[in-house]
Amino acid sequence: MNQWKNFTKGFIKENPVFILLLGLCPTLGVTTSAINGLGMGLATTFVLLMSNTVISLIKNVIPNKVRIPSFIVIIASFVTIVDLVMAAYVPALHAQLGLFIPLIVVNCIVLGRAEAFASKNTVLSSMIDGLGMGLGFAFALTILGAVRELLGSYAIFGYKLINTDGMLVFVLAPGAFIGLAYLVAIVRRINK
């Protein structure tokens, strides 16, 4: 497979959030601001890259019947590493994302890519796939976060554009669904 295509498919053509609609729990939960979305996206990217790499390395020595438990243990380890490292070096962002970092373990994208791609492809392809998918996820979360921040508090990346309260609904959970629905519609239109 063409590696460039393999990398870019995560952004629009097979974007985990806009097209595959995977991992919606963190997507809807953390995207109250663009920076939260970006932080969550990058944390997931790291986990995806590492788990894809390791899983494609060991795919031949894992018996078929215990592959899912093995994958989950590997993914959970990387998530815990990310959690600890973030708590140590970016405590402010870690406090913001809080509960959602450990939840990367059960993010369908990570296990989905491990099962659907990394366990069947070479190490290099799996790494590129993990990186592309992760960045696509980060890209989608940042866009959704930016839209919600812009409408919800008239700010972008914490920089206030108009100094009044925004449309509250976009900061709350319903705004996440509304924002995501419009973005999915726009992306589908572009893809047509």
């Binding site: 018996p63 093995s70 919800g152 900061v171």
Partner: protein, 227 residues
């Protein structure tokens, strides 16, 4: 692809090796991040204290626990001194009556019980409404600065107190007042116990002074009781 057969031995060994390697990796990361995480937490606490008792970053902070008069609640106090001079007490207090449950508040008192400053540490209140109790979002909690809860009733105006509630977030405002009130009750209890400790230490011939302190502490209690 030469996949291993799913025999019992193969599966057990694979899982054992995978989990053992993960455990080793996690242990290593845990050990190397333990120090920085502790530092980050200490720094966060210090910043929080410094907001409510300015000067805490330069002075010394001494931590101790105070039981409330009924002995059921325990609050963490931080006594801030700078060059031997008392700067104030920071109290880590809480309320479980927030709109989304638990909120944690840090409040600073000077030695007379006047609020120096206050801020939210942790909360899960609605963004845009209840989160205005936080300094990062609005200056709502600056109305408590310089007030002594002995005269300033820590209740929202709707409940007959002196506090302006946040529009559309009365429950969050009430919870915040509840947390401050808990801190003040703890502070009064702490004052009384430290006064009586002074009495115990003093000599027999200072009996009159002893009585005075007794009177002082009871009047303190009265003030505390009228709020």
């Amino acid at each position: 692809m030469a996949k291993k057969d799913s025999t019992f031995l193969n599966m057990t060994l694979t899982l054992l090796i995978v989990t053992a390697l993960s455990a080793v990796a996690l242990g290593f990361v845990y050990n190397s991040t333990k120090g920085p995480i502790k530092d980050a937490k200490a720094q966060k606490l210090k910043n929080a204290i410094n907001i409510v008792v300015p000067g805490a970053d330069k002075g010394e902070v001494e931590e101790f626990k105070v039981l409330s008069p009924d002995g059921r609640e325990e609050l963490t106090f931080y006594k801030v001194t700078h060059n031997g001079e008392l700067k104030g007490y920071a109290v880590n207090t809480y309320s479980n009556n927030g709109f989304s449950g638990h909120i944690s508040v840090m409040v600073g008192f000077d030695e007379n019980g006047v609020i120096i400053d206050n801020n939210v540490l942790e909360h899960a209140e609605t963004p845009g409404l209840g989160d205005k109790t936080s300094k990062d979002v609005s200056d709502w909690n600056s109305q408590f600065i310089g007030k002594n809860p002995a005269e300033f009733k820590l209740n929202v105006k709707k409940d007959g107190g002196d506090v302006d509630a946040i529009t559309a977030a009365t429950i969050s405002s009430r919870a915040y007042c509840d947390a401050l009130d808990r801190a003040y009750r703890g502070f009064v209890a702490f004052k009384e116990s430290s006064d009586s400790k002074l009495v115990e230490v003093s000599d027999d011939n200072t009996l009159i002074e002893d009585n005075n302190t007794e009177v002082d502490s009871t009047s303190n209690e009265n003030i505390g009781g009228t709020k």
